[in-house]
Subunit: 478 residues, 2 copies
């Protein structure tokens, strides 16, 4: 089977790509609005207006309704929904797990999805919730794996198959099964049963789960984050490598009077002003209907995906993630993944600019990569490292080499003043975090070259961490 | 003259208010789009659709065109513009300063504005640019002051008068003249000649100028930031106390192919995806006309003002400012004004919640205010301060009092665990900046009460700054 997923642009683990399906390509990162045929607030045929290229619907809901099932089988699911683009179907695993009688049905439901002409079908996986025992998670993963294998056998030639990765909050299982499933010929890899984590703002754990799955999966596999529909976490999830989102959030939140924004959720009744430019919010009325609220939720979700794609093209995905991760739970998640930046550094593309948005910027892969660059710097003799050359010109002749300092990067020779990242970085005055990064890189540089260094620093750089430099170099306050 | 400006809600120096004019009230913070009758990309009568309640136009441009002048005088400026809401007129000071012949004209232009029925008129002030000598700034301020006094004499009973505060980048002059002018019966106080600072992203200096003007002005005076029209700095400017903005930016940027967002500016030609939900950007086309680009710029500007107003109502203006000030130049400005938080602390309203967005949150007035609250805490004997009570339960009985720790605030007794800000604060795990704030408050607390304190801290709190606690208390690593 040819590779159905093609990546054209990358930044962090995020990517812009294209997933081919029988009903056309899905440009990723993509959000597939979930359509419930029993409760259609916004009709499938209207979804393109908001920016949707593909939809998701629950095959089980169609299957258990004799009229819908018959229509789906006779006219096809695209005709049933009135949508001619890609349609992904979920198996109703969650509902079925609740009602039991699941042993027989995975094969049936997959066959039904195939016969109804679904573009991407899903077996009945076991959505193991967070925080269960390792043993239960493992046992349920084995059941899921069996169902995926069965689905691959009976999915036919056309329909793509989604292979959900479960494993609860056990990172070893997430990674191990991602790797196992990655070797199968499935087309889409959803990360499953993470909705409870998102609902309780456990974004750090969600991020670790995504990274564990990514570590196991082959690079060329599209990753779907099951049930993720809040725009506040799209940027982070894309940066961690998620390509597809599906969600009924636009409608579920609207039913509950909740108003989505890329910064978080408001209750509509708490709003005196609508903080959004969308066609609904720009109309001037506060009294939004449930339908209008759902429309707003869709506008803002698709706009956020466009914002993310533009950031990937611009090499500014980390900047965007740092801007977005300002709710404490998301900030904690960002700080958590920053402890694993080695893996990001390995895939960091070449950039044109570095914009320091916050102390979190000092932990970006580009700063770690700069430390590697310093190893290639050929320096010998007595070295002056100065934070303000105007104040050290009179002593420069006592040294063989003079280097400057820029936080959060570290030392640099004048010849590199115009090159990336020194020249193409916009940073505020050094702060305690950016000073630490720069000094850490300086210390590594001194140690790697066993250099005789004098570090001349001004008031802005006066910080406790300089004591560590003092053990390796002469410190001069200028 | 009765007070024409009424404030209903406050947060930081920001406020929601209402400025009465002969043609109705302007709800503030407000943006007055500048309409140039020689170049009307978007007609004045259409401006309400975007959210504008009031407009600004240049009286000099009308005055020097015989046809426009005659129409303005015979039918009134509202009829000329086709807009029945409040219209503020600028004097053309900038143009006139360029062409000379200004001695005679200020009185004439003010009389013309009065006769044409302007709601808010402006004399010909001298827009002293940044970085000139103190003497020049002072001399020009005296000329401006004379023109303002003259304008107040000839403005009639109806028209409100704007009294521009100049003074270049000299903070002492800005404050001194703000105070002098504040005693006059002017109605609106524009901060003038700051466009060059905004154009060169000198937001730190702009912020210091606004704070200097605010320090001199009476609290009940509405403040106008002349020429400010980029939504990226609205939140900061409102938090510093600006009530009115005017700008031709929506049109000037559009002419130049530039696309405004609350996070900064894009060039339209560099965009592959439009990162916005507005009616223009949601239409799906990238090929925006100049008019469409101007519309987008207006939608996003008015949406940002609604976002700011909602944040003031929610007591979340600092949160919003911290989210917005992520361009390094704005971040630097935020950090600069944080060095003067004592004045913000004095006016900080009671809040319902504290959301930690970034290390900048640790410098919020609420954290300084918490230190004051600690002075009222009645504690004596041997005190245990613990960062993790589960790990210190076994030694608690050795102490008379046990306090807990929460960054960025500091120590708190269990009885205050549910009260603001300890209970109503959402914070991530302690970081080096929030630990410093909490420890600074702890040190002040120990010193103020001369207490016998043992500070038991866990791994998360391990930080250089604890050495300072060590001089005053017993440190225990738990």
């Amino acid at each position: 089977m040819p590779d159905r997923f093609e990546v054209t642009n990358k930044d962090a683990f995020g990517r812009i790509g294209k997933l081919e399906t029988p009903h056309g390509a899905i440009a990723t990162p993509a959000l597939l609005p979930v359509v419930n045929l029993n409760l259609t607030l916004i009709a499938p045929r209207e979804m393109r207006n908001f920016g949707a290229e593909a939809l998701m619907t629950n095959a089980y809901i169609i299957y258990r309704n004799p009229h819908l099932r018959e229509t789906a089988l006779s006219t096809g699911i695209h005709s049933l929904l009135g949508f001619d683009g890609p349609i992904m179907t979920d198996s109703g695993a969650f509902q079925l797990a609740e009602y039991g009688d699941i042993e027989l049905q995975s094969e049936q439901i997959v066959a039904f999805q195939r016969e109804a002409g679904s573009d991407i079908g899903t077996p009945i996986d076991i959505p193991t919730p967070p925080d269960v025992t390792h043993q239960r998670a493992l046992e349920e993963l084995e059941v899921t794996r069996g169902r995926i294998n069965e689905a691959l056998r009976c999915s036919g030639d056309e329909m793509l198959v989604a292979a959900p990765i479960q494993g609860s909050t056990h990172l070893d299982l997430r990674e191990q099964y991602a790797e196992l499933l990655s070797k199968l010929s499935a087309d889409v890899y959803p990360i499953g049963a993470v909705v409870p984590l998102m609902e309780s703002y456990r974004f750090s754990e969600l991020s670790s789960i995504i990274l564990a799955c990514k570590a196991g999966l082959a690079w060329n596999k599209p990753v779907h984050l099951f049930g993720a529909g809040h725009p506040m976490m799209f940027a982070l999830a894309v940066a961690l490598g998620c390509d597809l989102f599906d969600s009924a959030a636009y409608a579920l939140y609207a039913r509950d009077g909740r108003y989505l924004t890329p910064g978080g959720t408001y209750k509509l009744k708490d709003l005196t002003y609508l903080p959004c430019t969308c066609p609904v919010c720009s109309s001037g009325t506060l009294a939004l209907t449930e339908r209008q609220l759902a429309e707003h939720n869709l506008w803002v979700s698709f706009s956020e995906l466009r914002t993310i794609k533009q950031a990937i093209l611009d090499g500014q995905l980390w900047e965007l993630v740092e801007r977005r991760c300002r709710h404490p739970s998301l900030l904690q998640a960002l700080r958590t993944i920053q402890t694993d930046f080695a893996s990001f550094e390995a895939i960091e593309p070449l950039k044109r600019s570095f914009i320091y948005t916050s102390s979190e910027s000092a932990a970006r892969p580009e700063v770690a990569r700069y430390a590697q660059k310093l190893h290639r710097l050929d320096v010998a003799g007595r070295v002056l490292v100065t934070t303000d050359r105007r104040k050290t010109r009179h002593i420069e002749r006592e040294f063989d080499v003079t280097l400057l300092m820029k936080a959060p990067f570290g030392p640099y020779p004048l010849e590199l003043a115009e090159t990336y990242p020194i020249g193409q970085s916009e940073v505020p005055a050094p702060d305690c975090v950016s000073i630490k990064s720069a000094v850490r890189n300086l210390i590594e540089f001194i140690g790697f070259n066993s250099l005789d260094v004098t570090f001349a620093y001004d008031e802005q750089w006066d910080h406790d961490v300089l004591a560590e430099v003092g053990a390796l170099a002469t410190l001069v306050r200028i």
